[in-house]
Symmetry: C2
Subunit: 364 residues, 2 copies
């Protein structure tokens, strides 16, 4: 007889939100020439963060401080919030899982955009929730439609990414603030701001008194530490306190804590890195245009590019690019899937892109 | 209005399975002189593992391979199992959470020993399960009583640690194998072998064909990498595959993957570290005896010591030791709480213990 899985688990498929580029590399039998698909920050973290991690490596025999005291203190100063307003997780992915667990029971309606972040959906499905999606509108998340659907289905949880992944689009701070102001009081907004360090001007002011808004932040993107798994949630004290009821208190990596702290304290490096990404994105857009494709505006570290055809065309382009050594990804949902998505890269990465993109289009 | 927490979450207290030593240090306003309470391995990982982590630090901008391909391959060779038999998590703590999630719904009975690993209980409570505990017997987990209770309550999940924490006691491989053989087929045994690298001879042979046994292993103890958060579960393919339905696929730290691989490949260092721990434990036992206390036999990296009184006496001793700079912990449950628990330390750590223990006893 088999283990007695819960009814939720018994009904779940074995899925993985994303296939890693290493899996492709093993399939192809060779490494990618340019790794431009996972929205990583190829410019990496501050050298001070690398140094801090190297220095901390010998202390790895100790568990990390489960209160994340030093890093939390630095973030409190950075954001002007209290310790009770911050909770850490192994990346935003992990925090999304905890947030969903807090609010979603079998059948609970959860509102998001069709084609938005798959890992959020993975967690909603994983706790038996019912995804209620609304389409993008002009390649942006449709704030009005999201709100309306949340009201219609009386959703306890709604997801919005600003800036958006995979489209790179955004709403200005005023629009998001207005969205927050119109939320039903018992609907929690998960505001995923993974990319906000690229455009801090579009973040509404932090308000730690609203019990129904949680802001997700990360060291994976602009801080260049995706492999370190340091994400955090900002929110009102009781909501943040609820995370402590179920999270893994000892899940943080001790070396990562040291690295994130050093990265946070080097805001000068962050600004340089953000500028490099802007330059890289401009060149990606140029390369796209030179090949007859249409780059979309982006507030992130990637450029989403209209490949000029339908989803099948874009999917074929992604496959050919990958076969020729350029790792990219693309949106999943019909309409948006006319696009491919290319992360900022080094000059060398973009030389390769400039070389291979026309070959790939020619080959189609 | 408040967020609409699930009924499970609404009923949960805000608890933390363990308070970290850093929290104490902030309370006392000074660092511990000897950190001997968290069963960490003060001898640390192989220098090759430290070097591998330092070398990997600059690659932290990349997400880790979510298939953990290289580390998994090395562990497959080490254990003689297939890739389908291993799944990773951010420490055993995280894997316990996933396993509980797979099998526990509100009201599900789960059997464990009273006073066994609190983080397992934390997860069972966190998913609304009902803990069914049986007492220790002569400071060991009571295999017969555990089995009987599992049958009585028809439990889908039963927990056993071998060697045991917090008592340091163990059952020989034959006893555990017999326990496995007598399990109801639809009762999954979570066999927590966090400390097994200190006594591999007491591990029953790995059998990857039993769908109702999962073995929990870690790089946190003998491999000396508690802060790296690398645990793994070994089991039959379909049970291990179920983890993939809900786990965080990208939760592994890239630097930790590299470090764990290097640590695994340096079995010579592991053997030296295990020997150092044995020497340290012998000295801890001597120090205990010299102070009129009774060390218990231990198959782990710590020594549990009968403090010669009741729970109140042992608790007072722990407090005084901590106040004087020696971080130790103790069992929670009545009967076992006559003991304190001291992790193996360096010579310098034990010099401090030898100095402070008599003072602490004197002060009581």
């Amino acid at each position: 007889m088999a283990p007695r899985y819960t009814s939720i688990v018994a009904d779940l498929p074995s899925t993985i939100p994303f296939v890693g580029p290493e899996t492709d590399e093993r399939t192809f039998g060779r490494p990618y020439k340019a790794r431009l698909g996972a929205n990583e920050n190829v410019f990496g973290p501050s050298p001070k963060a690398i140094k801090a991690m190297q220095d901390a490596a010998a202390d790895i025999w100790m568990y990390a401080d489960p209160e994340d005291y030093d890093l939390k203190g630095a973030l409190c100063a950075h954001h002007g919030v209290g310790r009770e307003n911050i909770v850490f997780g192994s990346g935003i992915d992990s925090l999304l899982g905890v947030l969903v667990r807090l609010l979603v029971e079998p059948g609970t309606p959860v509102v998001t955009s069709r084609g938005a972040y798959p890992t959020f959906n993975y967690h909603v499905n994983g706790f038996g929730g019912r995804l209620e999606t609304v389409p993008y509108r002009n390649d942006k998340e449709d704030l009005e439609a999201l709100l309306q659907r949340a009201r219609e289905v009386d959703a306890p949880l709604i997801y919005l990414a600003n800036p958006d992944n995979p489209m790179g689009s955004w709403h200005e701070a005023e629009g998001v603030q207005s969205f927050i102001d119109m939320l039903p009081e018992n609907t929690v907004l998960c505001l995923d701001e993974a990319y906000i360090d690229y455009r801090p001007d579009i973040a509404p002011a932090l308000d730690m008194n609203r019990p129904n808004v949680v802001r997700m932040r990360t060291f994976s993107k602009a801080y260049g530490m995706a492999g370190a798994r340091v994400g955090y949630a900002l929110g009102e004290a009781s909501l943040i306190g609820a995370f402590d009821k179920v999270r893994d208190h000892f899940a943080m990596n001790r070396v990562s804590q040291a690295g994130a702290l050093a990265a946070l304290l080097d805001q000068n490096y962050l600004a340089q890195s953000v500028a490099k990404v802007e330059t890289s994105k401009a060149r990606i857009a140029d390369i796209a245009r030179q090949n007859g494709l249409s780059p979309l505006p982006s507030a992130t570290n990637f450029v989403t590019i209209d490949a000029g055809g339908d989803g099948a065309h874009a999917r074929a382009l992604v496959v050919v690019l990958k076969e020729r050594g350029v790792f990219v990804r693309m949106p999943f949902s019909p309409g948006e899937d006319r696009c491919i998505r290319i992360s900022a890269g080094t000059d060398a990465d973009l030389d390769i892109l400039a070389d291979i993109l026309p070959q790939a289009l020619e080959a189609l």
